[in-house]
Amino acid sequence: MVPTSAAAPEPLKPDDLPLDGRQTLAWPMDPETKTVRNGSRLNKVLLLRLDPEGFDPETKERAAEGVVGYSAICPHTGCDVTNWHPDRRLLECPCHYSMYDPKEEAKVVSGPSPRRLPALPLKIDNGKLVVAKAFIGRPGFQQM
């Protein structure tokens, strides 16, 4: 995983993410070819490092050293989920204010979103954050 903001793609380590801080937006990068998979914005992922104490069992299993990964694309109308409420540790979409709890599979806490953010199970490989399994659920949003 490499940050979307980086000029040169450097794989992220858990310590690169602020503990209990705002989410980092990232692209997946092929570890062999170093290809950054940013051809579709639906590949965009958000990463958060949290105290795993409050995680539900599913989230605990998918997290790596407290880092959880979710699709960054709001399933409502497709905005990047960029807002962060540090007091309650909730994610918020800036467009229509859907809120998600990253400690509980990014379930919808409030707002118009029809479903939770798809989770991306992570693991640590050589100290780097790596995708462990495919997205749980389909990234993207429903255009009726």
Partner: protein
């Protein structure tokens, strides 16, 4: 041995094929394809579809509602008068129809001689027998899966001849055959990959179909564009943000900022057929913080007068120079004459998102300032220049990059997109206002990425201390400039487009309790209310078929009404009800 195996495999394959064929033969046979050049079947009621002429658009029959606000002046007034203050309490539903869509159903049911056209979210258009409720045809255009559509809604269609014009969300203008719903032509207005989308009802004037684009939060350069109504051929395109050397470009002194300067056009312009000028409201600048784009940022947060012959901007009035509060001038002014200081003014009246009621004059090509006053709590403007109307701004109330400012009204303004109505009988202007809402905005740097959010701000909403209501339906006398009555809603915001009628009855929904209501236009008293399945965000209309008056509206909560509700529930948790989504068309009448 090998050969034997191969045979066995073939045998198995053969079995598989046989099984497939057997399943195939059990399927329901399909009807034959229609022969080429065979006209599609037309519902009997559509066989005598009454063409819409330029004259009918200028002077519609009382029974019809042919455009967004029924008449070019934007009044939202039907002269029909069978439903009165005496009998409105007896209104009953006649029919209802599920649209199959969620999100904000904002479009008026457009009615031509008993045929109703309803645009819904999801790029859908329904043609309905307005009296009986039969669905005659349905048009649906897929919305691209990768499209960022911030306002999933449509505000209706335009009509001319036997065509129906639909501004599809993915910035494509489509002309349909009113009798069949088949596409006659379509033309791409702009590239949705660059943040452009459309949500308005097209304006049909002077043989052209005229649309504007949304996308001010996505780094667009707003524009109004006209197309030949018959062929779809582009006629002209006028940007709301001028390029270098064009009038107003001096208000964009910083490099290429005009290229992503915002100025969305959310709502159908109103039109003066005598001068051929169409008046459009323009959205705020992009990014939101004015300190990032020094200058007045013309023609954002303005009304522009556009000559429909050639698209030239002949006049303008800017409500909020260097706008930084998300106060799009989302709706256009209505065209109405009023008295001011003993003189009759050929007027434009705008109920602005910045919380001011603006009395303007349309004088030849120019738009002159006459008067302006707040209609809700407004603490940003310290005064207006008496000659030009330019506001003086309290710098403490203006957000900027790295600076938080606290201000009223909130970013949704004193009135957002829901249109006002004006009755020539009562000579009152009816405003769906939101009072007592304030907020903060904190500016932050914004980076432009094509098609992505380009705002640079975070915001909060709060309710003013001591407030006893939010939603407030107001009536203003334009000749005296005074508020005559107001109807507060204690527990709801008001996102209800207004309908005024000749029977002295007003209609509006817009509250979070899912009611659609009738009010006495002279007092604001509730005469009748009916609870629909969802919140009523739609523009209500009135029409007549076979001598009987009907009221029609769409129910379907969503977009900004729902977004404000989400914020209110953070301010006062559990005090605001969950409003289910799901659209339907409703038609009401007396027995």
């Amino acid at each position: 041995m090998k050969r034997h195996r191969l045979h066995a495999m073939l045998a198995v394959s053969g079995l598989a094929l046989a099984a497939f064929a057997a399943t195939g033969s059990a399927q329901q046979p399909l009807p034959p394809l229609p022969k080429p050049d065979t006209p599609p079947p037309v519902a009997p009621i559509l066989q005598n579809y009454k063409p819409v002429t330029a004259d009918r658009l200028k002077q519609p029959e009382d029974s019809d509602w042919l455009m967004y606000r029924r008449t070019y002046d934007g009044w939202g007034y039907s002269p029909l008068s069978q439903i009165t203050t005496e009998n409105a309490a007896k209104l009953k539903p006649v029919w209802t129809l599920a649209t199959g869509q969620i999100e904000g159903h904002q479009a008026p049911p457009i009615v031509n001689n008993g045929i109703m056209f309803v645009a819904t979210p999801g790029n859908q258009l329904l043609a309905i027998d307005a009296k009986a409720g039969n669905l005659l045809w349905r048009f649906k255009r897929p919305i691209p899966e990768d499209m960022l559509l911030l306002h999933p809604t449509s505000r209706g269609v335009g009509l001319l001849g036997d065509k129906v014009y639909f501004a599809a969300a993915d910035a494509v203008l489509v002309a349909l055959d009113a009798k069949t719903g088949n596409e006659v032509w379509k033309t791409t207005v702009e590239d949705y990959n660059h943040g452009y989308y459309m949500s308005l009802a097209p304006l049909v004037a002077d043989g052209k179909v005229i649309v504007g684009v949304s996308g001010g939060e996505l780094g667009v350069r707003g524009f109004v564009a006209a197309f030949d109504a018959e062929t779809g051929k582009p006629a002209w395109k006028t940007y709301t943000v001028p390029g270098p050397g064009e009038p107003g470009s001096e208000t964009w002194p910083n490099g290429d900022q005009w290229k992503t300067g915002g100025g969305s056009v959310w709502i159908t312009g109103n039109y003066d057929p005598d001068t051929k000028l169409a008046y459009w409201g323009t959205g705020n600048g992009g990014p939101w913080m004015g300190d990032q784009r020094p200058g007045d940022s013309l023609f954002t947060a303005s009304t522009i007068a556009v000559d429909v012959n050639n698209g030239n901007i002949k006049g303008f009035f800017q409500y909020t120079p260097n706008e930084s509060w998300d106060w799009d001038e989302v709706s256009p002014p209505i065209l109405v004459d009023y008295q001011h200081n003993g003189k009759v003014i050929k007027g434009l009246v705008d109920v602005a998102r910045n919380g001011y009621l603006w009395m303007l004059e349309r004088s030849g090509d120019k738009i002159n300032f006459v008067d302006g006053k707040p209609f809700v709590k407004q603490n940003v403007f310290t005064k207006l220049d008496p000659e030009t109307g330019r506001p003086e701004i309290d710098p403490a109330r203006k957000p900027a990059t790295g600076k938080k400012a606290d201000f009223c009204p909130s970013l949704w303004g004193g009135k957002d997109w829901p249109p006002v109505a004006y009755s020539p009988k009562s000579r009152l202007l009816y405003i769906p206002a939101n009072e007592n809402l304030c907020g903060t905005i904190t500016g932050e740097p914004a980076t432009y990425t094509p098609g992505q959010r380009y705002v640079g701000a975070t915001s909060t909403l709060y309710i003013a201390p001591g407030a006893d209501h939010i939603g407030e339906l107001q009536a203003w006398n334009l000749d005296t400039g005074q508020k005559v009555w107001s109807h507060p809603f204690a527990n709801s915001q008001l996102w209800g487009p207004m309908l005024a009628t000749g029977g002295g009855v007003l209609f509006a929904g817009g509250t979070n309790d899912r009611f659609f209501r009738a009010f006495d236009a002279s007092s604001g008293k509730t005469l009748w209310e009916f609870r629909t399945g969802s919140g009523v965000n739609g523009v209500p209309v009135s029409f007549q078929v076979d001598g009987k008056q009907y009221i029609a509206v769409q129910s379907g909560w969503g977009v900004d009404a729902a977004r404000m509700q989400a914020r209110l529930n953070l301010v006062r948790p559990w005090e605001y009800p969950d409003v289910p989504q799901g659209g339907s068309v409703w038609v009401f009448a007396l027995d």
